[in-house]
Structures are given as C-alpha cells and as structure tokens.
C-alpha cells in the first residue's frame, strides 16, 4: 500500500523538499545541488559519498550537505533519489502534502488509501459525508469569496475601521421606534423572528413540530441519522477516557481527560469552597458515595481474604517460621489499611475549601449593587418597578402557594 502511494505521489528531494515530475530529474538535481564537491565540482552520488570524497581527496570535512534545509543536512544519511529517505520523513511529507495540496488532489486518485493511512482517525470529515466538507467548504473558508456584495460599502472598512462607523454608536442599527416601545407588546412586524420565542403565540412556532407529538407519525419521517438506540456506550468507554489528537501533525488543545472543561475546573478547591458545592463533593456524587462504599466493602473483602491467606500461610509454615506468618499477617493488614482509608479523603476535602472563604463575593457586591440602590427605577424594566417585593430574601424557599403540577 505504501509502495503504491509512493509511486503516485511526486518524487521529492529530501534535502530541500522540492518536488519533481520524474525521479531521474530528481537524481540529477541532487547530484548538481547537494552532492557536488565545492572544491573540484565533481558530482558524487550520495551525501556520504561526497563527505568521503572531500575527506580523502581534499582533506576537508563536510558537516553539512550543501543547499539543504537545516534539519536535513545530515551527511551520514545515504539518500539517492527517493531511496533511503527515513520512513518518518516520508510519512510527514505525505501528510503535509495532503493537507496543503487541498481537497481536489485528495479527491483525485486515492483518497481512500490516504484517509486510511496515518490520519484515519482524525479523518477529513466525519463518516457519512466524506469529502463533502473539503471540496465545498474549506476553500471557501480559507479564502472568502472575493465578490463582496455590492452596495455594502462598509464591508471593506469593517476589518480595521469598525470604530469609525460604529462610534456614533449603535443608533443607526436600532430603529428609533424600537426604542420607544415601552410595553412588552405584540409581535413587531419588523422583527418577527425575535418574537416567537417569547410571545404567548408560540403555537405559531409549534406548527411545524406538531406532527411529532401525535406519536404515530414519529416514525414516518425518514431520518438519515443513525438511530443510536443501544447507544455507543460500549464503544464509547474506551475512547472517552482521553482526548488525543489523532494525526501527528495536530494537537487538540484540551486536557487529556475526556470530561468537560467545567468539570475539571470545578474540582479545584477554589471553586468547590462553598458549603453547597462541598456537599456535592460527597453527596453530589451519590454515585461516588456508593462507589466509595463499594470500595470500602471491596477493601474489607480484600482484607479478609488477605488475612485468610495469611492464616493459611501461617498454618502451612507454622512449624518452621511462625514469626514469618506474623509478618505476613501484618503486611496484609498494612496493605489493607490504606485501602480502607479511602473513606476519609472526603472529610479531608470537606475541610479544605473553607480557606477560600466566601468573602470575595460579599466584598464585591456593593460595587455593582451600589448603583442599583441609587437609581433602581432607571434600570429596571418599566412596569416592574412598582411590583412590591413580594418575597423577602431569606424567606422560605418555596412559599405556600404550590401549584399543582401541570404535567401528567
């Protein structure tokens, strides 16, 4: 497979990365550019050949192959045309070409083998739409279409000149009448899209989704999405443990562990300080509590087994090395002990967060809270100010008026 590919990609010079149409030309190039003796202009056949020539004929050492890239100047590697190139470099070159050559070329000959090879995991597009993205999207994205819509004089300015036209502010954007309207009113015809989500007439939006609720029709619409049904949990678990970039030429900027950034961050004592999140640490992982219980149970069992083993061992060796059995038992106990301690870490965690202290929030509150106290009416949406503060802060969380649940 690799053979075939090598043949189909253009020959290139390892020393300077230049591509050639023909390996013969490549060899000529190498002889003229990289293997020529700078003293007598004799053309040698390889880098080591040149080095030996210079050493023997001119008593000079050559530490670099002439005209080569800095990392490719090794005189000890024997390269002749495409032969002798380190496999790693060969791979890298192919990959690089694949990525830089762009979509068309990858479509041309052997996209399959290319995909399969080193980048198979990362792929160029997810399954189901191979090739769809690269041809259509990438070029468009990298080089936005040159044609700017006519009549949008602002566009050219936008990149660097945004402030000039923005500075007067947003007024040009916000139609004045929009700002005048003071009542949460009926849908404004001008901005229809903004309305549906908030207007009581949400039924409008619902129109399309309705057939869904009728249940029977659900199965009707053809869906190309693979129904997940049994879910990929099995295939998932091994993969989900870490996040790793697949290609060697790319790196996913993300902690290795495949959990959300927020989860990772929330573990920090700094963020888990509050009593409530605290609780979540032990109770929140009600699952983890159970696992910890389980681990305790397991450790107990292990311990039992260990002591039992020790006992058996002791019996066996009773006669000769009774004291050794004792040691064995002790060792077993010692081994079991740390496991059994798996409970306490929680209490350790419980203590830690306190140091972070809740002071920050309290201190800060006045900064922003202040202005509000001074002119609450201005800021608050009209029609809301008059509302008497119905609930007192600190009052029972759920005042008596419990509405009957509407579901069911």
């Amino acid at each position: 497979m690799g053979r075939k590919k090598k043949k189909q990609s253009k020959p290139w010079c390892w020393y300077c990365n230049r591509e050639f149409d023909d390996e013969k030309i490549l060899i000529q190039h190498q002889k003229a550019k990289h293997f020529k003796c700078h003293i007598c202009h004799k053309k040698l056949y390889t880098g080591p050949g040149l080095s030996i020539h210079c050493m023997q004929v001119h008593k000079e050492t050559i530490d670099k192959v002439p005209n080569s890239l800095p990392n490719r100047s090794n005189v000890d590697i024997e390269i002749y045309g495409m032969e002798g190139i380190p496999p790693q470099d060969l791979k890298d070159h192919e990959r690089q070409k694949q990525s830089t050559r762009g979509p068309d070329s990858s479509d041309e000959d052997e996209p399959a083998s290319k995909k399969v090879k080193p980048e198979g995991l990362l792929g160029n597009a997810p399954p189901g739409m191979p090739g769809l993205m690269p041809p259509g999207m990438v070029p468009g994205l990298v080089h936005p279409p040159p044609g700017l819509p006519p009549g949008m004089q602002m566009m050219p300015m936008a990149p660097m000149g945004a402030p000039p036209f923005m500075h007067p502010g947003m007024p040009p954007m916000l139609p004045p009448h929009m700002m005048m309207q003071s009542q949460p009113g009926p849908p404004k015809p001008l901005f229809p899209s903004a309305v549906p989500s908030s207007s009581p007439g949400a039924a409008v939006v619902g129109a399309d989704f309705k057939p869904i609720s009728s249940g029977a029709t659900i199965s009707a619409p053809p869906t190309t999405n693979t129904p997940c049904s049994s879910s990929s949990s099995s295939s998932q678990t091994p993969k989900s443990s870490t996040i790793q970039a697949t290609g060697t030429s790319s790196k996913i900027i993300h902690p290795l562990e495949d959990i959300s950034l927020e989860e990772i961050r929330a573990r920090l004592p700094k963020y888990s300080r509050g009593s409530s999140w605290q609780k979540s640490e032990d109770a929140g992982s009600s699952t983890s509590t159970s696992t910890s219980e389980m681990s305790i149970a397991v450790s107990a069992a292990q311990q039992a087994a260990a002591t039992q083993a020790a006992v058996i061992q002791a019996k066996a060796q009773e006669v000769q090395h009774q004291h050794m059995a004792m040691m064995g038992r002790m060792a077993a106990a010692a081994a079991a002990f740390p496991v059994r301690v798996s409970g306490p870490p929680f209490s350790v965690v419980t203590g830690a967060p306190v140091m972070a202290g809740p002071t920050m929030g309290v201190l800060r509150a006045p900064l922003i809270g202040g202005p509000l106290m001074r002119h609450p009416p201005i800021g608050m949406p009209p029609g809301m100010i008059q509302m008497p503060p119905g609930v007192m802060y600190g009052a029972p969380m759920f005042p008596g008026m419990i509405m009957q649940p509407r579901f069911r």
Binding site: L141, A158, S213, E262
Partner: protein
C-alpha cells in the same frame, strides 16, 4: 487606517489595546473570574439587558445602551461558580444555575432571589420553556438528569434520565436538544409536555461542548448546530430529507505552521443570528467567526484575543453580538492566570452577519 489614531484616542469604550483586537465596545465592571454564561434580555423588554454568569459565583446584569455603553445594574451571588444563565420569556426574571447544584430565580423587579431547582450534582444548563399550556425551567445536570421546574414547587414537574452527564443544551419551543458526555444527542419535543423525540449518535468524534437550535425560513426550529472540543461544528437537521443537508466543518484551528503542525481548539459556544439565521462560533483559540451555514461559507473571522472566548450571544434583534474573553481551562490549570482581566465585548454585527447570497 487613516483616522484610526484619532478614533483610538477618542472614547473610553473603544480604547485600542491588544486586549481588544476587534476594537469593540467593552462592558464595564466585567466579572472577576472567567465568564461562563451570557444572555441578552428577550424582545419583550424595550431595552437591552445583558446578564453574565461567572466562576466568581456572581451573576451580573448590565443595561446596554444604543451608544454601546454598558451600565452595571445589579449583581447576585450564588453558592458556587455559575455555569448557565437564562431569561424568562417576559424578561422579568433571570435564572442562574451552577456548581452549587441549584438553580435560582432572580426577580429583577424586587431584586429577590429564590431557589427553584436542585440536582444531585452541578447544573450545567438552564433554559426557560414557554409553551402555551405550561412554562417551566429546564435544567440539565451532571447527575445525568434533565428536570423541568414549575418555579413554585420544590419538586420537579418532570425528571428525565439522561444516558450521561449533560454537557450542553438548547431550547427553542417546541424543540429542545441536549448533548451528553458520551457524545449522544437527545432531541425533545416540548409540545403538551416534554417528551423524548429521538436519540441521535453524534456526527462528531469528540466531546460535545455547545449546541444551538436553528430555524428554517418559516422561523420554526428545524435543526441544531453542535460544537466539539476538536474544532469542529456539525449542522444537523432533525428531519433529514437529504443526507447531504447535514454536514460538519472545521473551525478554531491554528493555521498550519511551516512544519505543518496544527493546534486544534475547542468550540466553546455558538449562536444563531435571530434575523439572518447565520451562525457565530467562538473558540478556545480566542477568535470568533460568523458563518453562513446555507452557503457553507465563512462570513468573517476575528483577530485572536489574548485569551479564549468562552461564550457568545446575540441580542434579540440581532444588532449586538456579545462575546466573553476569559480563560476556559482548555490548557489546564497551569495556564490559568487570575490576574488577567476578563472581558465582555459588544459588537455591532447586523451587517456582518448578513448572508451574502440572500442580499
């Protein structure tokens, strides 16, 4: 370029620094720790209010004026880092949820806060659902449940088990989507009462990070965008008539360096433009981009900020694009610098987000 210097020395809001490469309006008194959530007030309010939840446990509210100036209005503190915020449909209340495993309702009129939801683990997402026959708060948690709260009852109206921890969700009545840790997607229909509509295996191969529902020409929800930690976005239709309608595209990746080495960043958030239906994505690379999913083209990409962009939001009529520049933990603990200021920027985006084909 010519009158740039003049502008630069002009307003305090448009101070040109490296922190603000796009020269957008900076929101004053920004949060003291990373910004986890952003939301603009709904169209029912005449003004624009912006709320932001932060890892400093606070939720702040600003009024955003036409001029681009932001006026701090109020702040509330939660019992732990805030992970999501949402507005009620009438704009009178704000919901905030986070690591304290609770969701709270903040009545802006009275400035009172009360707890309305509780989970067994931190709550990652909260969304307000306004249906003709009910309204409730939907909360998605790492305890692998999705719960619906009446806000007046301490018990949920409905609790749905998820196959895994909830990582991202979006609601646009009558549709809701949830992305979970094992890369499944569950689509819910909310009509009558919330019901699972279907489970979908991800078109993406890496952890899900953000989702947003988009609408069709008739303005009803028809599909969703999904972003992963591997710099890739999938556009998925709920009813796929043509499999080619669903596609993915790469984004938020460094341009290949000379040696071809590429850094791939997480897509931290995405939002669809409420008017044009185009799409904004923000990434851990510190850039935002506007895309036209129908023409499958990029409309604009920003300069790189000096920190990742964690969230973004459009205001209700699509004039303002807000994005939050703060650390997202994508490079781990070592790269967290609490000294760095967190920014929220406001950009006039209406024209930039216009689809070129339609105009």
């Amino acid at each position: 370029m010519f009158n740039q210097s003049a502008i630069g020395g002009f307003g305090a809001n448009t101070t040109v620094t490296t922190n603000n490469p796009m020269k957008d309006y900076e929101v004053v008194q920004s949060p003291d720790d990373s910004i986890s959530s952003l939301a603009f007030s709904p169209a029912t309010l005449p003004q624009n209010f912006l709320i932001a939840g932060s890892w400093d446990n606070n939720v702040r509210c600003w009024e955003i004026e036409q001029s681009g100036t932001s006026i701090p209005k109020s702040m509330q503190t939660c019992g732990g880092p805030v992970l999501d915020v949402a507005w009620s449909d009438d704009g009178s209340k704000v919901f905030m949820a986070g690591c304290d495993k609770q969701a709270k309702m903040w009545d802006l009129a009275s400035n009172q806060v009360m707890q309305v939801a509780v989970h067994d683990a931190p709550i990652k997402t909260c969304h307000w659902i306004k249906a003709p026959n009910y309204s409730c708060l939907m909360t998605g948690s790492w305890d692998k449940t999705l719960k619906f709260w009446d806000t007046r009852s301490p018990t949920p109206m409905l609790s749905i088990n998820l196959p895994e921890r909830c990582y991202c969700a979006d609601v646009d009545y009558p549709m809701a989507v949830v992305g979970v840790a094992n890369r499944q997607i569950i689509v819910y229909q909310l009509e009558g009462k919330p019901q699972e509509f279907k489970k979908v295996d991800s078109p993406l191969k890496y952890q899900h990070r953000c989702m947003a529902i988009f609408r069709d020409k008739k303005k009803s929800p028809t599909g969703y965008g999904l972003g992963s930690v591997e710099g890739r976005v999938a556009i998925q239709y709920v009813f796929t008539t043509n499999p080619k309608d669903n596609f993915t595209f790469k984004c938020h990746r460094s341009n290949g360096t000379p040696n071809g080495y590429q850094d791939i960043y997480a897509v931290n958030d995405m939002a669809f433009h409420p008017v044009h239906g185009t799409l904004a994505t923000v990434g851990a690379d510190g850039s935002f981009s506007f895309w036209d999913k129908d023409a499958r083209t990029k409309l604009k990409s920003s300069e790189l900020m000096d920190q990742p962009i964690t969230r973004c939001a459009f205001n209700h009529n699509g004039q303002i694009f807000a994005y939050a520049v703060s650390y997202d933990w994508s490079k781990g603990h070592e790269f967290y610098n609490p000294q760095k200021k967190n920014y929220i920027f406001l950009r006039s985006c209406y024209d930039e987000c216009k689809s070129r084909s339609s105009s």
